[in-house]
Amino acid sequence: MSQLNVNNVTMRFSGVVALNDVSISVNEGEIFSLIGPNGSGKSTLFNCINGFNRPQEGKINYNGYNLNKTPSHDVIKTGISRTFQNIQNVPYMTVLDNVLLGAHNRIDAKFTLNRWFIRSYREKEEALALEVMDFLGIANYESKYMSGQPYGIQKLVEIARALMPKPELILMDEPAAGMNDQETYEIAKIIGEIRDRLGITVMVVEHDMNLVMSISDRVGVLDSGKIITVGLPAEVKAHPKVLKAYLGEGFDA
């Protein structure tokens, strides 16, 4: 049963066609990876789903919600959260506060007003965050400021923030970019656990082929704004067009 449906989406930036008639569907409970050379429109597709960009043509549907019209701050209410390619954290806030930022909609407004004077609400909020931080193994960083933390931790904090609103679908834009092998392995494990233990559908944009091939249920390949193929990792690996896009003309697999 498909959860997210992207139908014939075309996105142009004043002449540059970033996405050209793209259609994909993501099923519930799967890890769907999107790969492609630089500038092939992977992040643009995420931005379209997330409402940062509005496609000129086509429809994006998610569980009956029409995402074409949803304002980007309401997208999270439909159950889609995302992480970013270049880390988008708040440096002068603690790690805990950064994670709590994601729980914006889960924390009642009236609690905020009460919490000016009542400390226990803060503890309720913290319990929400620490649950997720324990899951990702960053609970001991809670009181540290974001600005001094290593890159790997910052990435994990971003994932934690994206998990806080209890999403049904999480969009991860290059979760392993700039990480070493050890950290990439951890990320792969975490992505697997997000799906298996939390039951969240995961959509990943990634360049690390080993990661993509090891974790994905299905892989879609974008090139110059067009979907080349969608299929199982092994099929995609052997697809001649994919090889052409990545390795160039005249290469025999």
Binding site: N50, D74, I76, Q88, L100, R115, G148
Partner: protein
């Protein structure tokens, strides 16, 4: 489970509040000119309410405002008109006037959704000019540029007369403002503001309505500025457009910058520093210039403030509060790693 913000050193706060209560009595014991110092302390208290609000807007939400004297003027004139001409009780005006100033902030928030950075600074500066012109134009109520005499504050049948009574009124509200704003900034609203400052994308992806929160920030800031205006009107007993010069708005920004933008205590420290400098140090410098070099320096404080802001931005961008944090960390780790820097 214990609160995670145990690092906030609560035990100092009663001591500080005690100091605020005892300070006028101590001054009375030390000097004969304590009334002058009380006046300075009242000014600090009033400006402090405003700079705390300005810090919420400029420091936390990252929306620069160079027109905060305008909000202050709205609060002051609204209260003066409501109390003296309409005849409402002061207590009612104390609540209503800041809200009206906040509503003006809300209106200014609309252009803030489209413009940012330098352009927003110019927009708000223009707002400051507009408010001054508006006050002069509404001569019927405000008596134009001639100024307006204002009655003393009356609360629960008690009339606050003189600097002594005003001191306690002003500082009660100042402490309440500091506490309320600190609590607010530690809550979901504060997090949303900081997220807007540092990463609008992350804020939107987390479900924060940018428009709503930017307007809210302007509203809250306007309320604080309006409260400062009300207190200024009723403790000064006289307001005119000259009290709400656009230069004052820039002094407010200097106060926040010098104190440490993006922290409530920073705004408080900066206000204390700048007001003391203006009232205690600058006259001494002027006198020295006169005695030593026979220079009549008319407007030397602008030069000094500009220089101070300049030096702070270059050498100490985290401001006085950042300096204090560095010192605290230095002494915490004292024998070990004394070069440890605050990040």
């Amino acid at each position: 489970m214990k609160g995670r913000y145990a690092d906030e050193n609560i035990k100092w706060i009663p001591a500080l509040i005690g100091l605020v209560i005892l300070l006028p009595f101590m001054l009375k014991g030390i000097t004969f000119s304590y009334k002058y110092y009380l006046y300075i302390l009242n000014t600090i208290g009033i400006y402090l309410i405003l700079t705390v609000g300005l810090d919420i807007l400029s420091g936390y939400t990252g929306l620069i405002s160079l027109g905060h004297a305008g909000f202050m003027a709205i609060g002051a004139y609204t209260s003066a008109i409501l109390v003296d001409q309409v005849g409402l009780p002061f207590g009612f005006s104390l609540v209503l006037s800041p809200i009206i100033a906040g509503c003006f902030g809300f209106i200014i928030g609309f252009p803030a959704l489209r413009v940012s950075g330098m352009y927003l600074g110019l927009t708000t500066m223009g707002f400051g000019f507009i408010i001054r012109r508006l006050i002069i134009a509404l001569r019927e109520w405000t008596q134009g540029s001639g100024g307006l005499a204002v009655s003393s504050p009356k609360l629960f049948g008690y009339t606050f007369n003189g600097d002594w009574a005003n001191y306690f009124l002003v500082w009660t509200l100042a402490i309440l403002s500091i506490v309320a704003s600190r609590r607010m900034m530690k809550s979901k609203v504060g997090r949303a503001f900081m997220a807007i400052r540092d990463s609008e994308q992350a804020a939107e992806a987390s479900g924060i309505n940018l428009a709503q929160y930017k307007m809210m920030s302007f509203f809250i800031s306007g309320v604080f500025a309006g409260l400062a205006g009300v207190l200024m009107a009723h403790t000064n007993h006289f307001i005119s457009t000259d009290h709400f010069d656009n230069m004052l708005s820039i002094y407010f920004i200097i106060m926040v910058l010098v104190g440490g933008i993006g922290s409530i205590y920073g705004a408080v420290l900066g206000t204390i520093f700048i007001v003391l400098l203006e009232n205690l140090i600058v006259p001494v410098i002027e006198e020295w210039l006169h005695v030593l070099f026979q220079i009549e320096a008319g407007d030397i404080e602008s030069l000094i403030f500009g220089l101070i802001m300049f030096l702070f931005i270059i050498f100490q961008p985290t401001g006085l509060y950042g300096m204090w944090l560095k010192i605290r960390i230095y002494w915490k780790l004292f024998p070990f790693n004394p070069k440890q820097r605050f990040t």
